[in-house]
Symmetry: C2
Subunit: 129 residues, 2 copies
């Protein structure tokens, strides 16, 4: 850990670490690869318009069957179902069966927080870009 760090020998700048101490310190504090991957997966889950729409629909309506989700966000049911699969796998939504219908609702308090934070973020920079 004190040696040359052994990285993939980039195009240039092979030894010339500008601030080796800071680099070492930061390297030590970085999340593990697993953590990073999980985090990225988690954010990518929210990074699809259809899934985001579903989440907002559930956020507003509380609980909806697939059919009503489809109607709410104007996306064909098959697509909704595929999207719900991801959300289910990530435990972001819960499904409750009632007869032949499945009622979905949010199953993660962080989701609301993140969505709100995201919206607030966008609102703050609506002017520029």
């Amino acid at each position: 850990m004190s040696a040359a760090i052994d990285r993939p020998v980039a195009d240039a700048c092979e030894v010339t670490l500008v601030d080796a101490d800071r680099v070492e310190a930061a390297r030590g504090k970085l999340p593990t690869a697993l953590e990073i991957d999980r985090l990225a997966d988690w954010f990518r889950l929210l990074g699809d318009p259809t899934r985001a729409r579903i989440l907002y629909a559930l956020l507003e309506a509380g609980e909806l069957c697939v059919c009503d989700i489809s109607a709410t966000i104007d996306v064909v049911e098959s697509t909704v179902s595929h999207s719900l699969r991801w959300l289910r796998a990530a435990n972001v939504v819960t499904a409750r069966r009632s007869g032949r219908m499945m009622f979905y609702s949010l199953d993660d308090s962080h989701v609301r927080l993140l969505l709100d934070l995201g919206r607030e973020h966008l609102a703050h920079r609506q002017g520029p870009e």
Copy 2:
């Protein structure tokens, strides 16, 4: 708006809105398509391991040149540069030129918040799945 909603006529469930009122109410409260797209873009930006790594590196180190970012997260400089392009375009990072080096740092308080929230979220469900 009171009529049949005129959606893409899905596979099934064409008229049978289970809870038409709730659907209508939710539809009215949904963010606009533009908002949703922006939001999804924003989350997708954090949904790539390399970009997430870069952000964490900057979060920990404060400010780093491309070379040091590369060393910190163990990714070749070209890839880092490409990733930084997205982050720059989204105003997530700022670049400061100093001689031939570019020093990057976070330019968005929400990023820290989101990353922390994401990590906290993962920590809370580390056990399962």
